[in-house]
């Protein structure tokens, strides 16, 4: 039996139409609405075994009304409450300030973005997931008989979504996803080490995804830590894609939003056209990425998504705008002109659109290097594969001070062993403006802000301090 009812999209659209009728009947100038309905199966794994199987469906609608530049928003699950939600949103609009020039976007043609729906996932049953989880547990045991999966799980989902507006935009579709995340622990010789690794895709993952091997590997290599002096040291740090992503996503995407730039709340405010990163580095947001977790034909306001270079060869070249942010900042005189870059992100049905990235890539104009090459360049320093406390990094300044228990010491270009724990601090924006080299394998990572991060290993030669415990 398919995970998704065959008429899921039709039912979603029928309910959206009911909401749209309520908006229309209210006499409001403009409106838009989003609707979601997800279905899925999930398995929890703890202490080396599958402990729970769960499934279900959830969804709802968010509607935004705009009247004379004022907007109001409300969300609901049950569209029998449409009239009340419309009234609530209108009441709020009436109390909101008018943003001169804020109108909802008109309908524009949008490219189709493929690879976001894998029909084979619809036929994956809970029993199939149980088979996959069994296989994963066996694989972990075969890689290291000491290794135990102490947490995590496997899940699949299918989501029907729709967007509808008074300006004639109507889009709907179905996306799928398959994800796995595992905490692997090795408790040996009185030393407990662990590593969390995960992977997700719009398409069906391999039965044994690569993240399984990485989780076991990092739990293994951090065993038997070195005895080191607890003295802070400024040193090069090779951050794996997994270790770098939480800090990068906490600091860089917010700094690239137009609103923060013009409000002087970004460390890159007033630096458009200036060198802000190492001259080899480029940051690109690919809203049209095939198979992306956050890409798509249209953004959360119905504007066509774009592929946009934000930092080119180290120079800040662009920023991210949604329609409302752009109108507001122009109306308030902070910038002469701004227009949507198709960067409105949905916070689900419970929040109006915000501004953010979709599929952010960090690339280098220099030839990418293998990890061995990077270690050879580094000579003396550290490799960090995960950090604790990335969410405490300061997005206003780029400063961070985090802790890692997945850190290896490098001497003469060779890994000599693990540290039990260390502090890691610095300023990420400044470190990325120093000597930076990128690895040759890009992996997609989740994000603390919006969108996905497509990052290789990143060798930061300057600007970081390591403080062994």
């Amino acid at each position: 039996m398919s995970m998704l009812p065959s008429d899921a999209e039709d039912r979603l659209l029928a309910n959206a139409k009911r909401l749209a009728d309520a908006c229309q009947a209210s006499g409001v100038e403009q409106w838009d609405l989003v609707g979601f309905q997800s279905y899925g199966h999930e398995l929890d794994i703890e202490a080396g075994k599958i402990t729970m199987a769960s499934g279900g469906g959830e969804g709802g609608f968010g509607l935004r009304l705009v009247d004379h530049g004022r907007f109001g928003f409300a969300h609901l699950v049950d569209v029998s409450g449409a009239e009340r939600a419309v009234k609530q949103a209108l009441d709020i609009a009436n109390k909101s300030p008018s943003v001169n020039g804020f109108v909802l976007p008109s309908a524009q043609p949008a490219e189709t973005v493929g690879g976001r729906f894998d029909p084979s996932l619809l036929d994956v049953s809970p029993e199939d997931l149980l088979e996959q989880a069994d296989g994963v547990l066996s694989e972990v045991a075969s890689l290291d008989e000491r290794a135990v999966v102490t947490g995590g799980g496997v899940g699949i989902s299918a989501t029907a979504s729709c967007f509808m507006s008074s300006e004639g935009i109507l889009s709907s579709g179905i996306t799928t996803s398959h994800g796995i995340g595992l905490q692997v622990t090795i408790d040996a010789n009185g030393e407990l080490t662990s590593s969390y690794q995960g992977e997700s895709s719009r398409k069906k993952l391999a039965e044994i995804p690569d993240c399984i091997g990485r989780a076991v590997h990092w739990a293994q290599v951090t065993q038997n830590p070195l005895e080191v002096e607890s003295e802070p040291v400024d040193a090069p740090v090779l951050m794996t894609s997994e270790g770098f992503s939480p800090l990068f996503s906490m600091v860089v995407p917010p700094a690239l939003t137009g609103e923060k730039m013009v409000r002087k709340e970004s460390f890159w405010s007033d630096k458009l056209g200036q060198q802000v990163l190492n001259g080899t580095l480029t940051v690109l947001d690919d809203g049209l990425l095939e198979g992306g977790m956050s890409s798509g034909a249209r953004d959360a306001e119905g504007v066509p998504r774009q592929r946009r270079t934000l930092i080119e060869n180290g120079r800040l070249s662009s920023m991210l705008w949604s329609t409302r942010d752009a109108a507001q900042q122009v109306a308030e005189g902070r910038i002469d002109a701004a227009a949507s870059t198709g960067s409105a992100c949905s916070g689900g049905h419970q929040a109006p659109p915000s501004t953010g990235c979709t599929e952010l890539f960090l690339t280098s104009s220099e030839a990418s290097r293998s990890r061995i090459d990077l270690l050879e360049t580094m000579q003396e320093g550290f490799i960090v594969n995960s950090v604790m406390g990335a969410h405490t990094a300061n997005p206003s300044s780029g400063d961070f001070s985090v802790t890692t228990s997945a850190i290896l010491k490098v001497e003469n270009g060779e890994i000599v062993g693990a540290l039990k724990q260390a502090g890691l601090s610095g300023n990420l924006a400044k470190a990325l403006n120093g000597h930076v080299l990128l690895g040759d394998e890009v992996r997609r990572q989740g994000s603390y802000s919006s969108g996905s991060m497509h990052l290789p290993d990143v060798l930061l030669m300057n600007g970081l301090r390591v403080n062994p415990a």
């Binding site: 729970m52 569209v79 419970q350 985090v402």
Partner: protein, 480 residues
């Protein structure tokens, strides 16, 4: 689109019911006929409101009503769970969810224990913690006026580039029915106001966050001097503009109430969650009855602490709440439990089961977690014999690796302590350590313990919590 069987478009009266009791009893009975040893249906309705203002101007206000239901079936010693917004679909899910539980059970190896639940009193009742001023009847204008008080306190300096104020309130209504005959309904409210002051000077951008809130309605926010809260935040943001980077290394640390709360939440609270202990993912496994901290350290977790942001009348398995003493004079005395872990460890459940909402199953969670007060009169007394150290205050959050027992938490601002005096302001201070080492390094606590700012805790699901304690001194901590 599945539809929620909401009883209408009006807010539910707190004494009303979403669940059709006869229908649910039949559905649960059907699960038993199919071989379930236990089954429950829990529905939660959330009436919520969030408001955001910037520089005294409304940015957005979001009213919302969410409803979710979770069916849990225990069969052959394993769980099957189904969550949905479609209350009417309950009957259709009984068979598949029971089958799912049995499929999980069939994969259990002989060495693994079957899931079983500790016995609890079977209660049929309603408990409603009524707010003095019900959040559902609070007009947007009233909220905006209070948020503007915070704004007025925080603005008015050339270096302040923006002041954001936020509001969140919620009315939670939960119903739980089980195959054991439990039939409980409870409701309560939470309110929160928060602000962020961003300041900029010579290209340097800093921000400072402040929060006030707790269990209850509008009266919780009205009890706070919001102008003063804003003024404090402005002063702190301006201090950060002149603050230096913190020194790195091991040194004495004094933590204010906020940071003491986050420390005890991360370093001790999480490793005390019995689901993590049972999964082999806690450094406190096997440590019950052991001295794990200095004898001045006593820690409680208490959902009955009325007014605390982590307070709740009944846990999400229908178990009455009570104070849990996690550490008594440095000795680990109790884990936080739900029914499954309580059976595993052979103890009574202690009301630690919490679910984020109606669409999530309960996990073992903290509520209001505090270190109790000690014997020092004030911070000056704690500081007087420190030659070189750090006083850190306010929290930017923390994180823990419960298995290794390593944790990290970050302060909003800090001062250098030199020869018993606060000298220079510092920024970006974080503290890390190992639970089993640092609890023994706590060597000073002021007398006056109380809950600090409200917070949120993530463990796959997000729940509101209260943390706090007295001002605390740690003899040696790794400052970054």
């Amino acid at each position: 689109m599945v539809m929620a069987a909401t009883p209408g478009t009006n807010h539910m009266p707190s004494t009303g019911r979403y669940l059709d009791q006869d229908r649910v009893r039949k559905a649960l009975g059907h699960a038993q006929e199919l071989g379930a040893t236990y089954a429950e249906v829990r529905v939660m309705s959330l009436t919520e409101s969030t408001v955001a203002m910037r520089d005294g101007v409304l940015e957005r206000a979001i009213p919302g009503q969410e409803l979710g239901m979770t069916l849990r079936v225990l069969a052959d010693g394993a769980w099957g769970v189904h969550s949905t917004t479609d209350l009417a679909s309950l009957n259709d899910q009984i068979e598949s969810t029971t089958r799912l539980a049995k499929a999980v059970a069939a994969r259990r190896s002989p060495k693994d224990r079957a899931v079983a639940l500790a016995d609890v009193p079977i209660i049929v009742d309603e408990q409603h913690w009524r707010s003095v001023l019900d959040v559902r009847h609070t007009e947007l204008d009233v909220k905006m006026e209070l948020m503007n008080d915070l704004y007025r306190g925080a603005t008015g300096h050339d270096d302040v580039v923006s002041v954001r104020a936020g509001w969140s309130d919620e009315h939670l209504h939960t119903e739980l029915m089980t195959t054991e005959g439990m039939d409980r309904v409870w409701s309560f409210q939470r309110s929160l106001i928060h602000g962020m002051v961003t300041a900029r000077r010579d290209g340097e951008v800093v921000s400072y966050r402040t929060r006030h809130g707790g269990q209850g309605g509008l009266e919780v926010i009205q009890a706070c001097d919001l102008v003063e809260l804003g003024e404090q935040a402005q002063r702190a943001a301006l201090r950060l503009l002149t603050a230096e980077r913190a020194p790195s290394g091991k040194m004495p640390l004094i933590a204010d109430r906020d940071l003491t709360g986050v420390y005890i939440h991360e370093a001790l609270g999480h490793p005390c969650e019995a689901d993590l202990v049972a999964a082999g993912d806690s450094c406190l496994d096997g440590k019950l009855g052991h001295q794990i901290g200095n004898e001045i350290v006593t820690v409680v977790d208490d959902p009955t602490m009325m007014g605390g942001y982590g307070a709740y009348p009944v846990d999400d398995e229908g178990v009455d709440t009570r104070e849990k003493v996690l550490i008594k004079n440095g000795v680990l005395t109790e884990y936080l439990n739900h029914r499954e872990t309580a059976h595993h460890f052979g103890v009574d459940p202690n009301g630690g089961a919490r679910a984020q909402d109606g669409l999530h199953h309960p996990l073992v969670r903290m509520s209001n977690t505090m270190i109790q007060g000690g014997h020092h009169a004030d911070m000056d007394e704690l500081m007087e014999d420190i030659e070189y150290g750090v006083y850190a205050c306010g929290t930017r959050g923390g994180q823990v690796d419960t298995g290794r027992g390593s944790f990290q938490f970050a302060a909003q601002e800090a001062w250098l302590i030199e020869n018993g005096e606060l000298t220079r302001p510092l920024k970006d201070v974080s503290v890390s350590g190992l639970t089993l080492q640092i609890l023994k390094n706590v060597d000073g606590l002021t007398r006056d313990a109380m809950l600090a700012s409200p917070g949120f805790c993530g463990k796959g699901q997000t729940v509101p919590v209260g943390d706090g304690g007295p001002v605390m001194r740690i003899r040696e901590a790794l400052v970054g």
